[in-house]
Symmetry: C2
Subunit: 409 residues, 2 copies
């Protein structure tokens, strides 16, 4: 069987026309008119391929090709909603490639043993509705449907209202079909594969995430008249913490990352010592124990800084997810296929969150990564070469074929 | 001769009623309606005391009591314009006390040998018109009158238009009267006197000021997917510079201060490594050579940070003033008077800019400081105890008397 990779690229381009921004980016925020048009297009393609289309109560879309046996489907897929000015590939590449794998079976008149299914999950990006990865979270039982329906968008609509408005409130029960396996093909959204000139990442883990909001409160003072020893400089405290967060990440090493992304001083004037700084600390690791160690070090260093600089602190835990470990055998399969088909592959972690981490709660799951140019994503500049996109789709097809041949038993 | 200190406090309170903000602060921004009303009130008090009132071409107001001799006046004064929500004392205290000194001569029927003059300088704060200390700058010849008239306010009016509108475009030539000496009584606007429990500061210098805008440019990257060693984190570069600026100030010591007041990262998102940070560095010293050394160290450390963190930098010199040294004999006189009258005094520097530093270009000048509660100024909370305000006015009176007795020869 051979994929029609031209069709993958044509479809990525066609979907990109819906909600195209002036910078050439994609704007199909969950359950807006543009997202609905994108969904309609995908559903029409599923129907063209002869798939059964089902919509569940959270608006997830499933296109299924019946196999010879009754049983759980091999599920592929991702999402097609975007951030405000995102790229063409994030999510869409995995959905369109999954559909292409199934269409290849159809067009070759090959009936798989197991059902093959491609899923489109609702609100992965979390731009309008929080939390992100909502469709897969609810499908996997992590949140009740009724609670999810009550979530209010940033523009004041409930998710239920918007599902009805878009005509994507389905009747299928969330979680009613437990996949045999779930595989999400996705762009890396980071620079590792490109940097190492590797074509395929077999994703073993999704990093755990710990976000902390830190407010240092010192004393706003005149920059000219306040001697250094009489200051309580919240900006200096913030600076020491930024340096310390980098030291923590480097001392733990081995995939630990630490980032201060937000730095908001008050009053933020050239001639006033900052009296208050709000900042965020983002810590991630695929190993929960190491992530806990990083959090412990963060707390210790903040306490030290408060003593040293005479400032007070308020801390707020903004987000905390434990790392997700994907299915070992599935990762091995992807790695084996990648080694055979494209040679240059590596086992790696995902630094970003994905629907697959939710699906991992209910079935063997894993991800296939392809390189992202300059590691850029959530941006109109998001790009992956055709060669890499094609390799990823081929690895997906071969992985599905081996699963259908009974790899997992 | 005894001052009527009650009248000083009553007049400070009366002036504070004009442009009073909801927080109880003062809002009489230069050449607004409120500033005009404040000027009118001061002029009426000058006339009540029988002073000759002259307005110069930049709107500075001079109230003069003729002395026995023809010659240069002993000039006191400051400004009465304010920041957007300032205190009652900044500037006003020096003007009202100066008027009180002269009024004391008048009411005691004592004719001084020299003319006594109280000045109100235009636009000291620089909120509507830049630069600040404009009236004294022009008076001292640091800027031409025509250029100053062309300065456009933040609300789009020229200074000339606003002088005419307020009816404070005078005919006196700027700089046409060169004072025998200029003495500015002012609140410290810093914490040093209060902290050391000292009543009077004899101000020897105004610190030189060096403001630099620094933009670090790195690479905005995903906080989850970008390994530490592949980052070009402009936020980390900024943090290292903040720490370094504090180290520079402390290593030079001896009155050197260094402040990073503005820190503006882009995109300022929790999960994105800052790609760019704009920040300001404020360095001050009363010794020009030491200030130059601090600037040299700043440049060196920025170069080091760029190498270390893989970021690029753009630097912009925003402000550069050399330190101003006040007249030695005048400072000695103030110190002597303070020692006799109130015991607790110290020689010190001014960290803020004042009209006296402009007047120092054309005549022997110095300043008298009184404590500021908690070092707070430019704020409705600005406060100095009555005891301290009275001491300052007494030192001013005695200083003027000794000048009139021929102290400077």
């Amino acid at each position: 069987m051979k994929l029609n990779t031209d069709r993958i690229h044509d479809r990525i381009a066609a979907l990109a026309e819906i909600g195209k921004t002036s910078e050439g980016g994609a704007r199909r925020i969950a359950l807006t008119d543009e997202d609905k048009l994108g969904r309609d297009l995908l559903v029409s393609w599923m129907k063209d391929a002869g798939l059964d289309v089902a919509i569940d109560k959270i608006g997830n879309i499933f296109g299924t090709l019946k196999g010879e046996q009754n049983g759980s489907p091999i599920m592929m897929g991702s999402h097609i909603d975007t951030v405000g000015n995102g790229g063409h590939l994030d999510g869409c590449y995995g959905v369109i490639s999954g559909l292409e794998v199934i269409t290849t079976y159809v067009e070759n008149n090959i009936t798989p043993k197991l059902d093959l299914c491609v899923a489109i999950f609702t609100n992965e990006e979390g731009v309008r509705f929080l939390p992100d990865m909502l469709g897969s979270l609810v499908y996997a039982g992590g949140m009740g449907v009724a609670s999810a329906h009550d979530i209010v968008s940033t523009d004041g609509q409930t998710l239920l209202e918007e599902l009805i408005r878009a005509n994507y409130l389905g009747t299928m029960e969330c979680g009613s079909v437990i996949p045999h396996a779930f595989i999400e093909l996705h762009i890396e959204q980071g620079p590792i594969l490109e940097n190492e000139n590797i074509f395929i990442g077999a994703v073993e883990n999704v990093q755990g995430i710990s976000w902390t909001g830190v407010t240092f409160r010192g004393q706003a003072n005149h920059a000219g008249t306040t001697p250094m020893h009489m200051r309580k400089d919240a900006g200096l405290a913030a600076a020491r913490l930024i340096v310390a967060v980098n030291e923590i990440a480097e001392s733990i090493g081995d995939g630990q990352v630490g980032t201060v992304g937000v730095i908001s001083p008050k009053p933020n004037l050239v001639n006033v010592v900052p009296g208050e700084v709000y900042m965020t600390v983002d810590l991630r690791n695929s190993d929960e124990e190491k992530l806990k160690a990083a959090e412990f070090m963060l707390n210790e260093v903040i306490e030290y800084i408060c003593d040293e600089d005479g400032v007070r602190v308020d801390m707020e835990k903004l987000v905390r997810f434990e790392p997700v470990k994907f299915d070992d055998r599935l990762v091995d399969l992807i790695a084996d296929v990648a080694k055979e088909k494209v040679t240059f592959y590596k086992r790696m972690n995902s630094g970003a969150g994905h629907d697959a981490q939710m699906m991992a709660r209910i079935c063997p799951s894993a991800m296939i990564f392809v390189p992202s140019k300059d590691g850029i994503s959530h941006n109109p500049k998001e790009h992956t070469s055709r060669k890499h996109l094609d390799s990823g789709a081929e690895v997906l097809l071969e992985t599905v074929m081996r699963l259908d041949d009974g790899y997992l038993g």
